[in-house]
Assembly symmetry: C2
Homo-oligomer: 208 residues x 2
């Protein structure tokens, strides 16, 4: 693409560095911003800049935060004995959006993956063990990827916590609501048969 | 979506104001910027802010420009007697990218559309007429939308220029190269038969 303005070209280049944004989309966004009021463009760049410079990470659960403690950890109404272990911030947003979970979180920052050079020291595992031992956590809910790496991470953490009386659970895997049996992968279908639920349990879950 | 940080929430909100970017995409972009070095985020916001605040519009052709005259109008190698009339900057970029046109441009800023309240005074038509009369323009190439509004705009401009000896042409419409006859719309197909070309003319065009 040939631009007649260096300013436009630079802005398009910066936008197209973002994931999933090609040159054409970047140009569309830049031309839109060109039509937008200067104040609104300043609000846009200001919000992005502030987000990057002022964001902190919660010293307890490693969630993004506007101060030293995130709003979830700082909320006295949350159940402090339950901790849900997730990989990333995105998982916290997904679970929070269900409005069904009232405990705390712990963001690992990924899962064990030796081939990618990610060992226990690259993840927030030691701080998790410290939390469990010192803060009276009674249940750890593992909400990690259903992959070999995810399972390995669960077992590694469980091993680190032998000797403590914390109860380690994992979120239920199975056929999604509205999912068709015929399109489910074999692994999921096999597990959902092996871990079948008594029918009154199922009815309670639907009613909830 | 429920965010645990106001900073993240505001950045996501600003991104999702852009066209074609929903909440989920905005979150993806924000989380990517959160992982990016602070200097690179500053380069991003700086480029966007500079683009909006420092951009000027060429006093001759209304193209975006880094100074009072755009690089196309300022280029002494361009053919100053040919002016291609387009609706928006996007059209200039598309035509420039073919690298086949060496004349100048004139950006109207849209086409006549009385129902949307766009009359001749909302477009850069008077400055176009002035250019034609004062700058020795011999050919106006109309590259507007092939719609009723586009045709109306062409006729309006042609009427304004009666009395001058400028030659007004319009870009060729027809079946695109690689296009299938069976999928062409009736209007295009009908016109491309009516405006058929002698075969040696066609061969020359392909060879060019």
């Amino acid at each position: 693409m040939i631009f007649s303005s260096k300013l436009i070209e630079e802005a398009v280049q910066e936008f197209s560095r973002l994931p999933g944004i090609g040159k054409k989309t970047a140009l569309r966004l830049v031309l839109q911003l060109l039509k937008t009021d200067k104040e609104d463009v300043d609000a846009f760049t200001g919000a992005v800049s502030r987000m990057r410079h002022e964001i902190e990470f919660c010293e307890e659960c490693h969630n993004v935060s506007d101060g030293p403690k995130c709003v979830i950890c700082a909320n006295p109404g949350r159940n402090r004995s339950q901790v849900c272990v997730v990989e990333t911030l995105r998982d916290v947003i997904a679970i929070e959006s269900t409005q069904q979970y009232s405990g705390l979180y712990h963001i690992l920052g990924g899962i064990l993956s030796p081939l990618d050079g990610i060992g226990p020291d690259q993840l927030n595992i030691s701080s998790l063990c410290k939390r469990v031992k010192e803060n009276g956590v009674t249940e750890l809910i593992m909400a990690l990827s259903p992959t070999i790496e995810g399972d390995t991470t669960v077992y590694y953490i469980a091993k680190q916590l032998t000797g403590t009386d914390v109860n380690i659970t994992t979120i239920a895997r199975g056929i999604a609501f509205g999912g068709e049996l015929e399109y489910a992968d074999e692994m999921t279908l096999a597990r959902s048969i092996a871990k079948r639920l008594p029918i009154d349990n199922y009815v309670t879950m639907q009613g909830k």
